[in-house]
């Protein structure tokens, strides 16, 4: 079976690999350390998984916004995303 039609590249494989690892990690955390949902600054109940989703979705928009407006290297946007992720997990 050939996967040539999927046109895999190294960077996209790493991208999906990281997401898969994060999902596995959060599944493990969910089993090992069960949690109760909490209410943060968005005034909505969130679990660890919700916060991960908000982080990933927000990071996509931060990266898109950075690419569209600044013209500066993209890894700076990743730095912003790291701060954003920390903020989401701390306060949302």
């Amino acid at each position: 079976m050939s996967f040539a039609w999927m046109a895999w590249t190294g960077p996209t494989a790493i991208f999906f690999g990281v997401i898969a690892c994060v999902l596995l990690l959060f599944t493990f955390l969910g089993i090992k350390y069960p949690e109760t949902p909490r209410r943060g600054i968005l005034m909505i109940e969130t679990t660890r998984g919700d916060r991960l989703f908000i982080t990933l979705l927000g990071s996509a928009f931060i990266n898109a916004g950075w690419l569209a407006t600044t013209g500066l290297p993209q890894y700076w946007a990743l730095g912003i995303c790291a701060f954003y992720a920390a903020a989401v997990f701390r306060w949302v």
């Binding site: 040539a4 039609w5 999927m6 046109a7 895999w8 590249t9 960077p11 996209t12 991208f15 999906f16 909505i44 109940e45 989703f53 979705l57 996509a60 928009f61 898109a64 690419l67 569209a68 993209q74």
Partner: protein, 290 residues
């Protein structure tokens, strides 16, 4: 007694996971792979990096399509939601005519998209169409193939004709679930018809209306077939909504890279909106203690 936790039930979800993997995850991964490469066919790809994303994000053509799409979704929501509620409020609550109304309201929903497009394409024609001919007879030079405003009116009227019944049926279901006691209490208080609507019916319909808004927004945001059949995105690009523009880019021009980047941005917007609606709905349910 503690509830017995049996996680073996998760294995029953496996078939769905496999199905979703084939129908959604693998195609999505492929789109992501395409979005960072260029191809001229034959499964030969060249690394392009984030170039396509940059192009799509700064492309005035994409911005135009997004603007038209948001305008279209906004307009049809502004028409369909109030109109659907008004129809639901006016519909008989029980008896023979209630059934007749329900069947009549369900009819447009049963017609396939491309048939709806064909119906309105013919209806709008000035030479043989009922609407187009009547308007021409009234002295209006009606031509949706030439005039952008006419094209927009045709597409919007078509969507309103096709989908308002969905909102009406959902609102009707919401109305039917209100216990009579509320109306009796309102009668004792001599509440006006408007007060009954404002303070009883509307709050009780809140849940179904949110679902109606979500469904209509998503559906209109992804609309393709009807405007494609009626106007083909024209005149010019006046009715080229996001999906029409995307298909033109992907299949018409075979620009798979830019089209993949475009569809990923499209997907992100839809994901964001769905998440917002889902969050609002679940929080509303929790607030109501359902």
């Amino acid at each position: 007694m503690d509830k017995v936790q049996n996680n073996k039930a998760w294995f029953l979800v496996l078939p769905v996971l496999v199905l979703v993997a084939f129908s959604a995850v693998i195609p999505l991964m492929t789109v992501v792979n395409y979005s960072v490469q260029d191809t001229f066919g034959n499964n030969v790809f060249f690394w392009e990096g984030l170039g396509w994303f940059e192009q799509v994000l700064t492309d005035s053509r994409v911005h135009g399509a997004l603007g038209r799409q948001l305008a279209f979704s906004g307009i049809i929501l502004a028409i369909q939601i109030p109109l659907g509620i008004a129809i639901a409020v006016c519909m008989p609550k029980k008896g023979f005519w209630a059934s007749v109304c329900l069947v009549l309201m369900a009819l447009p929903l049963l017609i396939p998209w491309n048939v709806v497009g064909t119906i309105w394409q013919i209806m709008g024609r000035g030479d043989i169409g009922l609407v187009g001919y009547s308007l021409s007879a009234l002295g209006i030079d009606w031509n949706y193939a030439r005039d952008p405003l006419h094209a927009w009116i045709t597409v919007i009227v078509m969507d309103v004709w096709h989908w308002t019944s969905l909102v009406a049926l959902l609102a009707y279901a919401g109305l039917q679930s209100i216990p009579q006691a509320y109306y009796q209490a309102a009668k004792i208080d001599q509440a006006s018809r408007w007060s009954v609507f404002r303070y009883i019916e509307l709050p009780k319909m809140q849940g179904v209306l949110l679902i109606a808004i979500l469904l209509r927004f998503m559906d209109s945001f992804m609309i393709y077939t009807e405007p494609f059949v009626v106007t083909g995105g024209g005149p010019g690009s006046a009715t080229s909504f996001l999906s029409i523009d995307l298909v033109k880019m992907a299949l018409g021009q075979f620009d798979l890279g830019p089209a993949a980047a475009f569809s990923l941005m499209y997907f992100l917007v839809i994901l964001l909106v769905s998440w917002v609606f889902y969050t609002v709905m679940t929080n509303l349910d929790k607030a109501e203690g359902r």
